[in-house]
Every structure is written in structure tokens, then in C-alpha cells.
């Protein structure tokens, strides 16, 4: 971050009033009584522009001309600097104030020395951990590609389970507001889903709009994706094989989230509320409406223990009542970070070892996290470990919309639940790792149960 350099005008009685409005100012900056000093900004110079467009800069620095006092000028300049940096225009902005050259009364000049990003920046190599699957991402970024804060991200992803894919994501802030942006995404990816015995190649295109509101953040997305589903092997069940082939999903999706948690992997306080509606069937040959939601509440108790409650649920229905939703859009349940005590996606209907998924699910979990007993490594590595006790319950099934009460009761009656305890390891803001001893208490026929020790790694958990 750049500093604000202020050159004091030569006035006799200089008294130490620090420019409180400039948080980036250091203690050893000159102390001047600035706040009421009258100013007239005569020139604003922005030096170092090569590809950033003038109009966007003018819009950001124009408010400076209306500054009446020096204090205001510093404040406005700082705002402009922060805004331009947040828009992803510059990697560094240094502001310098000077009295204007023509020596008019109270005349000032402001100089922004900006340094733009290089055209292509290596996004480096990093790893991403999704549920029980790790992937390596090779990235490249082109910041400020068209000169108005647009950012292009190119990714190549290669993962365990033979996942691989490419992704190009262009983001553009709208109306010079870094919080409201449009995105365009093109991708191709291939993945294997051994629990269901199929593999799939996705090729698609998406457009989205992200904007904040008073209550939380919204994301509206249209996605068109061509999916090529194939049986994974000769052992794949016929019920899965029947669904092989090409499908084109064109869907509108709305995601709303409020996240006040202090950490998304191991929060100690705060609430997460996230809902997602998807409507597929605007063109294409995949037609369903889907609703999914997650709620999580964390609170700290005595002795550094944390109490956490999570709820999740979802329901979908095909637009044509006689049709059914394909396996690649269905809900699955079970796994070492969600419904513990069951194999990954091991709950619900199966056909010859292949999970078929279902059209509705619910899931609830309660945890009590506490530090390690006797607190070894306190303040150091010990803080990355927690012990937890948990109870989780859930069910997966289909809702019959003609007999809603009955099928909802059915989803309650045939529920699965388990409890246990274990260790949670916080992996540097990236993922969590759990080693649990789980006792499944209620299972249903066909479930793949994993009693005893269970190991899980991932970001999403309940």
C-alpha cells in the first residue's frame, strides 16, 4: 500500500494535530494543523497510466476538485486510492500533494503515482481441497485486461480421481463499483464419480451478476452446460448406464448468502445462511426446479468451547411430473464431513453398489468443539487442533407432491443418525481434516455404513 505524503505549507504556528483521516499515515509524518486549512485543488495529475482508460480514472479523481479543506482533500484522495486499488486497476498508488506552481492562493496540486499490473501475472500453483478430493490448480491472471478493472483468470485443474479441466473467468466491475460485478465463465471439465459409477465431461458457459444488498450477497447466474455422461466401467449398474448420453442444461440460479462467521473452516462465532434456487429448462433438455439451503450457527461457550448447530435441506422436482431428474443433478447424502458414519454418498437408494441419489434430503448436525485436553502447544500448533463431539442425522428420499405430509413424515421416520467424537485439524484456512470415531445409530437397508474410525478432508462440512 502506498503512503500519503503531505508537504506542509510554511505557516508559523504548527501544532501537532495528526491527520486522523489518513489511516495509512505513519507516526513520523509531519504534524500539521491541517483540518481546517482551506484548499482549492487546481490540478490532479495521474502518472503511470498505460492501459487504464481515462474515463474510469476521471470518475474516481473528480471528487477531489470539490475539496474545501486539506483534511477533506486527504480523505477524498485516500478514498480514490482505495477504490482504484479495489477495482484492480493498480498494484500500488502513491499520493503526493503540492502547492500549485502558479502560486495562487490556497492552490494545490495532487499527484497520483500509479503502477499498473503487468499484463500477465502468474496465478501460481495452488491446491484446492474439495470433499475427499484434492486438486492442483495452475493459474494465470490478466488483471485490468481492458483498462477498466476487468480481470481474466485462466485455470487448469488436475485432481485425484482423474479430474481435470480448464476454466476461463472474466470479471468486470459495474459502474466503477468493486462490489457489483458481472462475470463470464467458460469451462470444460472431466470428473469421475465412483460412488455412482459414472464419469462425466462438462462443457459450458455461464454469465453471472454479483451484488450486495442490506441483508446479504446475491448472485444471479445463467448457465448453459453440455454434459456427456458415461458409465465408468462394466460393473456400472444398469440403472446408471441407462442415463448415459448427452444432455444440455440451461438453468437460472440464484444464490443468496449471509455469512457473519469469523472463519469458514473452523468458526468460533457467527451465522451462515445460504439458499440457492435453480430453475433448469430455459432451452436444453434438462428440466427441473431445485431448492437448496444451509444454515449454521456458532457460539462460544466457557473454557474456549464452541457450540455449533447446522441444518441443511433440499428438494427438487422435474418440471414434467412423469419424468425424473437425472443422476447428475440429484442430491446425495453421507460422508465423513456431513453425515458421519456413512461412506461418501453412501446413504439412500443404491443399485449394485452405485448410489442413485434422490430428489430431497435433510441433514442436521450439532457439534461441541473444545481445545485439546491439557492444551499442549497452546498459542502455537495446538491451536490448529480441536476435539469435537457431534451428533448428526439426516435422510434422503423422494417427495411425493400428491401426498406431501406422508412423504415428509416418511423422510423423518426413516432417518439415519450417528454420533461420535474426534479430532479436527485446521489446515491453514484451506480445508479441515477430521479423524473421528463414529457410532451409527440408525441405518437403512442398502446404506453403506462406516462405523468406527473415519477420516475426512474438505471444505464443506456440516
Amino acid at each position: 500500500m502506498g503512503n500519503v505524503h503531505a508537504k506542509a505549507p510554511t505557516e508559523p504556528e504548527l501544532k501537532g494535530v495528526k491527520t486522523s483521516s489518513a489511516p495509512a499515515a505513519k507516526k513520523d509524518d509531519i504534524f500539521v494543523k491541517f483540518d481546517k486549512l482551506p484548499v482549492r485543488v487546481q490540478r490532479v495529475v495521474v502518472d503511470g497510466l498505460t492501459r487504464t482508460k481515462d474515463d474510469i480514472i476521471i470518475k474516481e479523481v473528480k471528487p477531489l476538485l470539490s475539496a474545501k479543506t486539506f483534511d477533506e482533500l486527504v480523505q477524498l484522495s485516500y478514498n480514490a486510492k482505495v477504490k482504484m486499488e479495489r477495482l484492480g486497476l493498480f498494484k500500488n498508488v502513491v499520493i503526493a500533494f503540492d502547492v500549485s506552481k502558479d502560486k495562487r492562493e490556497n492552490g494545490y496540486e495532487v499527484l497520483f503515482e500509479v503502477s499498473e499490473f503487468r499484463r500477465v501475472r502468474s496465478g501460481g500453483i495452488h491446491t484446492e481441497i474439495s470433499n475427499n478430493d484434492g486438486s492442483l490448480i495452475l493459474g494465470m491472471q490478466m488483471p485490468n485486461i481492458f483498462g477498466r478493472g476487468e480481470k481474466l483468470d485462466l485455470h487448469y485443474i488436475i485432481g485425484t480421481k482423474r479430474t481435470h479441466g480448464y476454466k476461463a473467468h472474466l470479471k468486470k466491475p459495474l459502474n466503477n463499483n468493486p462490489d457489483i460485478y458481472m462475470g463470464a465463465l467458460a469451462f470444460q471439465s472431466h470428473g469421475e464419480y465412483p460412488w455412482s459409477g459414472y464419469k462425466q465431461t462438462d462443457r459450458g458457459f455461464a454469465l453471472d451478476l454479483t451484488f450486495p444488498t442490506m441483508f446479504g450477497s446475491h448472485n444471479l447466474q445463467w448457465e448453459g452446460v453440455w454434459r456427456d455422461l458415461r458409465a465408468l466401467s462394466r460393473e456400472t449398474s444398469f440403472s446408471v448406464r441407462e442415463q448415459a448420453g448427452h444432455s444440455l442444461k440451461s438453468s437460472l440460479k440464484h444464490t443468496f448468502s449471509i455469512d457473519t462467521r469469523d472463519d469458514r473452516i473452523l468458526p468460533t462465532t457467527g451465522t451462515l445462511w445460504q439458499t440457492c434456487q435453480e430453475y433448469a429448462g430455459i432451452g436444453g433438455n434438462v428440466e427441473f426446479a431445485k431448492q437448496d439451503g444451509t444454515f449454521q450457527w456458532n457460539t462460544s461457550l466457557i473454557w474456549d468451547t464452541i457450540f455449533q448447530v447446522s441444518l441443511a435441506g433440499g428438494v427438487m422436482r422435474p418440471l414434467d411430473p412423469k419424468a425424473s431428474v437425472n443422476i447428475n443433478d440429484r442430491f446425495f447424502l453421507g460422508g465423513p464431513l456431513t453425515l458421519r458414519g456413512f461412506n461418501l454418498h453412501g446413504c439412500g437408494p443404491h443399485s449394485h453398489e452405485n448410489a442413485l441419489g434422490a430428489e430431497a434430503y435433510w441433514l442436521a448436525a450439532a457439534h461441541i468443539y473444545s481445545p485439546l485436553p491439557f492444551r499442549p502447544g497452546k498459542g502455537r500448533f495446538g491451536d490448529f487442533f480441536k476435539t469435537h463431539f457431534f451428533v448428526n442425522a439426516g435422510n434422503l428420499g423422494s417427495l411425493d407432491f400428491n401426498d406431501l405430509n406422508g412423504s415428509v413424515r416418511g423422510l423423518g421416520e426413516t432417518m439415519r443418525w450417528s454420533y461420535g467424537m474426534g479430532l479436527v485439524l485446521y489446515l491453514g484456512g484451506m480445508a479441515r481434516l477430521e479423524l473421528n470415531y463414529v457410532i451409527p445409530m440408525r441405518v437403512q437397508k442398502g446404506d453403506k455404513v462406516n462405523p468406527g474410525l473415519q477420516f475426512g478432508i474438505g471444505i464443506n462440512f456440516l
Partner: protein, 260 residues
């Protein structure tokens, strides 16, 4: 690997008799299936009929993607899926059904030679005609192949299939042939078949063999499918005994129980 799986599967399947719920999967016959695929499906169906085996034809738009080998037709016998003519013949053989059991070794190898000739020449000629002949590909094959998909898959998938077929025909030197050369090949093949058949009822002895099923599958398809240009129909018209052969097989295996 897949050969081992095939043979293991064939041996495992052998212990059970022919079940009642055997299904043969293919694309929709009226709207969707392409000429070469139809010929393959008809050959297999004729073969099963000749063995007197019961089966049901299931038409699925995604039959090709469902098939373990990516080609139609395939049959489902209990838990086993077997696709394409040769593996199906072998599989049915392990169940104790064979059309060529009574042939001598020399005859059997002769039959195999004819079969591979038919599969090579007629199979490739059908692919050539359906996908590489610009007029037929645009007017018939591609619209049919893409008919079950929404736009833009409706044109992407036929286009990529055409590329795939072109690459396959390039590798065996068929892609560079002219239409006349292809017709000449077909003529040579039919000439050989016609000479073998002469005035007899079947190619070998007085009972149908796998060769009869295969020849019927291909020739019947070529004779009855009306394509722009009508090149193959014109070639086949010269071989009267082959035409009669097709009529005979059709009458005895497809007329009685209706056309499936």
C-alpha cells in the same frame, strides 16, 4: 483387458439358459437410427431370430452412449451386456446356440472369410455413403443423428460424429475413394456373394448361418433405404438371386411375428 473381461463374462454367462427378459437396445428406428447402425442392428436381430431366441427390442435415444463398446446394438442378458455382432455370436455360442455347428472346419473358415468381407466392404461403404457423401450426410444422416438433441447439440454431435467417421475411414483408406470406386467395391462384394449363393436357399447347406444373418442385415438395409442418389440400390439391382434371398429371409423371420 476388455478381451479378458469379455471372455470371462461369456464363460460366466454360459451356465444359465436363455432367460425370458433379453433386450436388444438400439436407437429409434423410424426417426433416429442411421444407415450403418441399422444394418448392424438388423443383422444381430436376424441372427437371434434364426437361433429361435426370444428377445425384445428396446428403442432408446441414447442407445449408442449406453453401449459398453459405444456401438449399437447391444443385448442385455441378465446382468451381462454384450455389444456388436461378433461378441454377440460368441456369447450366444456359449449358451449352446450356434448356426454354424454343422459346418466342416473348411466351410466354417470360408464362412468367416465371407463375413469379414461383408463387414469390411459393406460396412465401410455404408459409413462412406451415410457420412461422407455430402448430399446424404446433410439431408439424411446428420438430421437423423441429431434429431433427439436440443440446439446446439443438434448440430455439434452429428458434426463430431462425422469427423470421427472420416478419421476412421481415412485410416483404412476408404475416405479418399470416389463414389464410383465405392460402388465398384460394393459390386465386387455382391458379385462374390451372388456367385457363392447361386440358386441355393442359403450360403452354406440348407440351414441359415451367421453369414446369412449378416448379409441380410446389410443388403436388406441397402435395398429398402431410399437415399438421395440411390447409388447402392442401382448396384444391387443387378444381382437377382441376392434380392430374392433377402425377400426369403424377410418372409421367414420377420413376416410371421410381424416386423418385431
Amino acid at each position: 483387458m476388455s478381451l479378458v473381461v469379455d471372455s470371462v463374462q461369456a464363460t460366466l454367462g454360459a451356465s444359465e439358459p436363455w432367460p425370458d427378459d433379453v433386450c436388444l437396445f438400439q436407437q429409434y428406428q423410424v426417426e433416429q437410427i442411421t444407415l450403418p447402425d441399422y444394418a448392424q442392428c438388423l443383422a444381430v436381430r436376424t441372427f437371434l431370430h434364426m437361433n429361435g431366441l426370444r428377445f425384445r427390442v428396446e428403442q432408446r435415444t441414447n442407445a449408442e452412449e449406453m453401449s459398453p463398446s459405444g456401438k449399437v446394438p447391444f443385448i442385455q442378458v441378465g446382468l451381462y451386456l454384450v455389444s456388436e455382432m461378433d461378441p454377440i455370436v460368441a456369447f450366444v455360442g456359449t449358451k449352446g446356440f450356434s448356426l454354424s455347428r454343422e459346418l466342416s472346419d473348411t466351410e466354417r473358415s470360408e464362412m468367416r472369410a465371407y463375413m469379414s468381407m461383408v463387414e469390411n466392404i459393406l460396412g465401410n461403404a455404408e459409413l462412406y455413403m451415410a457420412w461422407l457423401n455430402a448430399e446424404i450426410a446433410t439431408e439424411v444422416t446428420k438430421p437423423r443423428y441429431g434429431c433427439s438433441f436440443p440446439w446446439p447439440l443438434r448440430w455439434i454431435l452429428p458434426w463430431s460424429k462425422q469427423r470421427e467417421i472420416r478419421a476412421r475411414l481415412k485410416s483404412n483408406d476408404w475416405a479418399d475413394k470416389s463414389l464410383d470406386e465405392v460402388c465398384a467395391e460394393v459390386k465386387v462384394c455382391c458379385q462374390a456373394l451372388s456367385e457363392r449363393l447361386e440358386k441355393k436357399e442359403f450360403f452354406f447347406g440348407d440351414r441359415p448361418t451367421e453369414l446369412d444373418a449378416l448379409v441380410f442385415g446389410h443388403l436388406y438395409t441397402l435395398l429398402t433405404t431410399i437415399l438421395p442418389g440411390g447409388h447402392f440400390t442401382a448396384v444391387l439391382r443387378d444381382f437377382e438371386n441376392l434380392g430374392k434371398f433377402c425377400k426369403r429371409i424377410e418372409d421367414s423371420y420377420f413376416r410371421l411375428g410381424g416386423f418385431d
